[in-house]
Symmetry: C2
Subunit: 190 residues, 2 copies
């Protein structure tokens, strides 16, 4: 948190993701950012412009390359790494994701950006499973496995993010490692 613009953008992300675009006023954002409303309008000409610039600014990309290189062709260990990396991106982008969910109709062009990651992860994972199949470690269809794995990861993430009132006492980390254990066993040849 540094420049005035950053303060405003941070505040807007927090509020937009909490309440949605229309429900938030520029006055609220200014107050949250600790500046005057006038300053907000001087930096971003309009509320909508602020919204768009907030979206543009805060998108974190996964470190695909590092992830790729760290794989060791041990199913459970690799899946743990991949999942951790995916959870990491999702978590870092959680506010943006919520913001997007609550304001879908306002930024159709933004979907492409947001959905780039799952799609890239899917490609990566498919290739990984395919190679594992070639090595004789598994038999199932690589693409199906990839979609399954990513969807589950997303389910775990989203559940822990939004449904915090559920009386699920198991925490997400435990859930994830359990899931991977089961998944690994479920797809391995014995």
């Amino acid at each position: 948190m540094c420049t005035t613009e950053d303060k405003i953008i941070n505040a807007s992300i927090v509020l937009f993701s909490q309440k949605g675009y229309t429900a938030v006023t520029t006055m609220e954002i200014a107050k949250e950012a600790g500046v005057s409303q006038m300053t907000l309008f001087r930096h971003f000409e309009s509320k909508h412009n602020l919204f768009e610039r907030s979206l543009d600014k805060f998108v974190f990309s996964p470190k695909f390359k590092a992830l790729f290189e760290s794989l060791e062709w041990d199913l459970e260990r690799d899946l743990n790494k991949i999942c951790a990396s995916y959870q990491d991106v999702l978590y870092k982008n959680r506010k943006i994701i919520l913001m997007h969910l609550k304001n879908e109709e306002l930024n159709p062009h933004f979907e492409a950006v947001l959905y780039k990651f799952p799609n890239e992860f899917k490609k990566l994972l498919s290739r990984y499973f395919e190679e594992m199949r070639n090595r004789g470690a598994i038999i199932e269809n690589p693409e199906t496995l990839a979609v399954n794995f990513l969807t589950t990861s997303f389910g775990l993430f989203f559940t822990s993010l939004v449904m915090n009132k559920l009386t699920f006492d198991t925490d997400i980390q435990t859930c994830i490692s359990n899931y991977i254990k089961i998944f690994t066993k479920g797809i391995s040849l014995l």
Copy 2:
């Protein structure tokens, strides 16, 4: 679609779930319902009242009893049934769920209603897994398994609901049955 009130409530659910409470105007709802704005206010005194009555009206409960009685202690078959039932409730309540997601701050009391189902499902599933463990079919912790299973089911549901722009060509039904196959194998004693 029958009485005037129903028409209005239906329209409000559609719009609230699409755009969120604040972004929808009473005029829009009236138009969508095919009535005049005045009629809307005559039936529901305020926009917020309409919102609350919409929430109250459209909550579908799962048929727990029928589900319970249909179980046959065959892991894969039972899980398919349980998952199908869960997906069914989720799907029937999809608009309400979206509506809730986009308007969290407006109806805190409603969370309890929405989260009743996952919690009941979890109890049911935990008991089921416990019994299966007693029968020697599995060894893992029943509660953990239940949470895993439900979270995944929710992930599959939500992905297919919201992320329809993902280039995941595998459809949800295939995903679900694949997942259950893997899950069953993953937790079974061999």
